[in-house]
Symmetry: C2
Subunit: 360 residues, 2 copies
C-alpha cells in the first residue's frame, strides 16, 4: 500500500540503510556488488525517493533566475507578470524566482549578466537565446558549476542548454500561411510581411515557414519583401504607410515580430479598402483590442504564462535530476475573436488573497 522507503530497500537488499544511502546519493566507497544489490532491490520494490522529504531534509531551496529583456515589450511584460504570480505561489514549495533585467537583443548585456550572477546557491537559469557564439563560454562555465540552463522563447544551440521551452517557430510561420491562404479561398493576392530583424532566429524561421506553405499550397499569393522594423512601432507605422502607398494590391499582412501598435495605427490611418487580412504574433493588450475590433484577424500566440510555468517545472526536474514530467508539446496557439481567454492579464488573479474563483 504505502510506497517503499529507503529503509525497505536496504532491508530487501540485505544491506544497511547507510549503504543504501551511499548508493542512491552516490557518495562513493561502495562495492560494485552492493550497488547491484541495492539497485535490484529498488527495481523490485519500485522505490521512488520522496522528493518532499529529501528537500525538507536538505533545506533545499530552488533558486532560479530568469534573464528577461527589459523595455516596453508587452510579451515579456506578460511573462514577467506570470513569473511573479508563480513566484508568489511557489514560495510555499521552496522555489525562489529572481528576474534579472537584460538589455533587449544585446549579446553584451546577456554575457555580462551571466558572468555577474552570483553562483553560490543558484540552481538554474532561464534565458532568451540569442544566436551567435559569444554566449558559449559563460554558459559552459555556469553549467560546470552545476547550474541548469533552459532556453526560453528563442533557442540556443542544443549543446549549450539542458532544455528548450518555446514553440516551433517554423510551424508558427507555416500556420500563419495556412490561415491567410485559406482565407483567400482561391483568390489571388499579395502579402506584406514585417519582421524585427533577420538576425533573430525566431523571426527568420517564421518567415521561412510562411514562405514554404505559401509557395507549396497557395501559389496564387505573392509575398512582398519584409519590412524590417526592429520591433519598433514607429518604424512599423512608417513602413506600412509607405508600402501601402506604393502598392494597392496588398490583400494581407503578416508581422512575425513585435510593434503591432504601429501596425494597427497604420491600418487605421490608411484604411485600405478592402481591408487586408492580418495575422500577427503574441496576444497582448493592443493586439487583442485590434482582433476584437476586426482590424486584425488572427493572432498566433505562444502563451508566456504557460511557458513560464513550464520553465520552472523543467528547471525543478533538472535540478532534482529527475526525469521530465509529462509535458505536452508547446504549440503555436491560434486566436480568433471568439476563443480569446477572459483576461489577457495573467496577474488578474489576486496573488495575496488568492481569492480568484477556482473555476476559470
Amino acid at each position: 500500500m504505502r510506497n517503499p522507503t529507503l529503509s525497505d530497500v536496504a532491508k530487501a537488499a540485505g544491506v544497511s540503510y547507510a549503504t543504501a544511502d551511499r548508493v542512491v546519493n552516490s557518495r562513493g566507497n561502495v562495492a560494485d556488488k552492493s550497488i547491484r544489490k541495492v539497485q535490484a532491490a529498488m527495481e523490485a520494490l519500485g522505490y521512488v525517493r520522496d522528493i518532499a522529504a529529501a528537500n525538507l531534509s536538505r533545506g533545499r531551496v530552488y533558486r532560479l533566475a530568469f534573464l528577461l529583456p527589459s523595455g516596453p515589450n508587452a510579451f515579456f511584460a506578460k511573462m514577467r507578470a506570470a513569473l511573479s504570480n508563480l513566484a508568489a505561489h511557489l514560495s510555499a514549495e521552496r522555489v525562489d524566482i529572481q528576474i534579472v533585467d537584460i538589455a533587449a537583443f544585446s549579446h553584451q548585456g546577456l554575457r555580462a549578466a551571466l558572468a555577474d550572477i552570483e553562483v553560490p546557491g543558484l540552481d538554474g537559469i532561464a534565458i532568451v537565446g540569442l544566436s551567435g557564439a559569444s554566449l558559449q563560454q559563460p554558459l559552459a562555465d555556469l553549467r560546470d558549476k552545476g547550474v541548469s540552463v533552459v532556453s526560453l522563447v528563442s533557442d540556443l544551440r542544443a549543446d549549450e542548454r539542458d532544455a528548450y521551452v518555446g514553440i516551433n517557430n517554423l510551424a508558427a510561420g507555416r500556420t500563419a500561411a495556412r490561415l491567410l491562404g485559406m482565407a483567400h479561398s482561391g483568390r489571388a493576392g499579395a502579402v506584406l510581411t514585417l519582421a524585427g530583424s533577420l538576425d533573430a532566429e525566431d523571426h527568420i524561421q517564421r518567415l521561412n515557414g510562411f514562405r514554404d506553405v505559401i509557395k507549396a499550397d497557395f501559389p496564387h499569393l505573392t509575398i512582398l519583401d519584409p519590412i524590417l522594423a526592429k520591433d519598433d512601432e514607429a518604424a512599423v507605422f512608417d513602413g506600412m504607410v509607405e508600402r501601402f502607398k506604393a502598392n494597392d494590391q496588398i490583400t494581407a499582412v503578416y508581422n512575425v515580430g513585435a510593434g503591432n501598435q504601429g501596425l494597427v495605427r497604420a491600418l487605421e490611418a490608411i484604411a485600405p479598402d478592402p481591408a487586408p487580412l492580418c495575422v500577427v504574433h503574441e496576444l497582448v493588450a493592443h493586439s487583442r483590442a485590434a482582433l476584437e475590433s476586426g482590424l486584425i484577424h488572427f493572432i498566433i500566440d505562444q502563451r508566456p504564462d504557460i511557458e513560464a510555468a513550464r520553465a520552472v517545472t523543467i528547471l525543478r526536474a533538472l535540478i532534482d535530476g529527475r526525469s521530465k514530467p509529462p509535458m505536452p508539446e508547446l504549440v503555436p496557439m491560434i486566436y480568433v475573436p471568439d476563443n480569446l481567454p477572459a483576461h489577457t492579464d495573467p496577474a488578474h488573479t489576486d496573488i495575496h488573497t488568492g481569492k480568484a474563483p477556482l473555476h476559470d
Copy 2:
C-alpha cells in the same frame, strides 16, 4: 532569508508552539485573544505552512478518482493515457490516481459509481458532467464527507462542484463558425452540422455559439439541421451520405461531437466536388490523419493531457485548502496541418526510463 516556521510565529506571537499549532490547525480551545495574536504574527512574518513537511508528517496521500466514460472514444482514451502517465510521475509526490470506468453518457452508471466509491481515504474526484438533477444528491453526500469535486470537460451546476476544468464550449462553437466563415471569404454556402445528442450540454453550446457567429457575421451562410448521430461513427457515416445525396450545395461540415472516423469515411466515399470545408473537434489519431491528408481543414481541440494535469493540480490545491495556483484559462485550441504537435500520443514519453528528450 529562510522562510519563517511555525515556531518563529509562536515566538513572535508570544505564545507556545502548541497554541500556534492549535490556531493554524483550528483544533479549538483557544482564546480569541491568542488567535488574533497568532494571526497577526503570521501576517507580519509572512508565514506559509510548508506543505511538503505537513504532508510528510501526516503521511498524507492524495487519493484521487477520475470517473471516465469507457468505450471506444478516442478523446477519453487520450485522457486516460495522459492520466496514467501523470500517475506514474506523481507517485513520487504522494498522489494516487485511480481511473474508474463509467458507461458513457449514463446518468445511472455515474450515480451508481458515485455511490459505490469507497469514501474512506478518498480525497477528490473528477467527473465528466451530465446535465440533469439526478447527480445532485450523491455529489452532495460525497462533498459532505470532505471529498473535493471537479467537473471535467463538461460542467456540472456551479453549486454541485468545486471547480470546472474544461473549455468554454460556446467559444468553441463560435470559433468554428469564425474559421468556416472566413474561409468562405464572402461566398455563399451551406453548412452541414453534426452532433452526438441534444442532451449533452457541451454539444448544445457548441451549436449555439456556431449559430450566433454565422448569423451575425456570415449571413450568406446557411446552417442545415444537425445530424444527431450519438457519437457513433456508423451513424455519422450514414447521415453524411444521406445528406450529401439530398443536397449538393453543401460547402462546409461542422461536427461538434465524436465519430469522426465515420465522417472521414463518408467524405472519401462521396468525394464531393468541390470538397467541403471541414471543422471537427478533438485531435486524435483519425482526425489528425484526415487533417494532414487535407480531408478536414481545422480541428478544435481541448488538449486532454493538459486538462488531466490541471484537474490533478486543482484537486490538490482544493484538498490542501490552498488558493488556486495561477492557471491560465483553458482555450479551445485550433489546429491546422502546420501547428500539430509532434506526437498525438501523450504516452510516447517513456514512463519507466524517463528517457524522453527534455526539449519537446
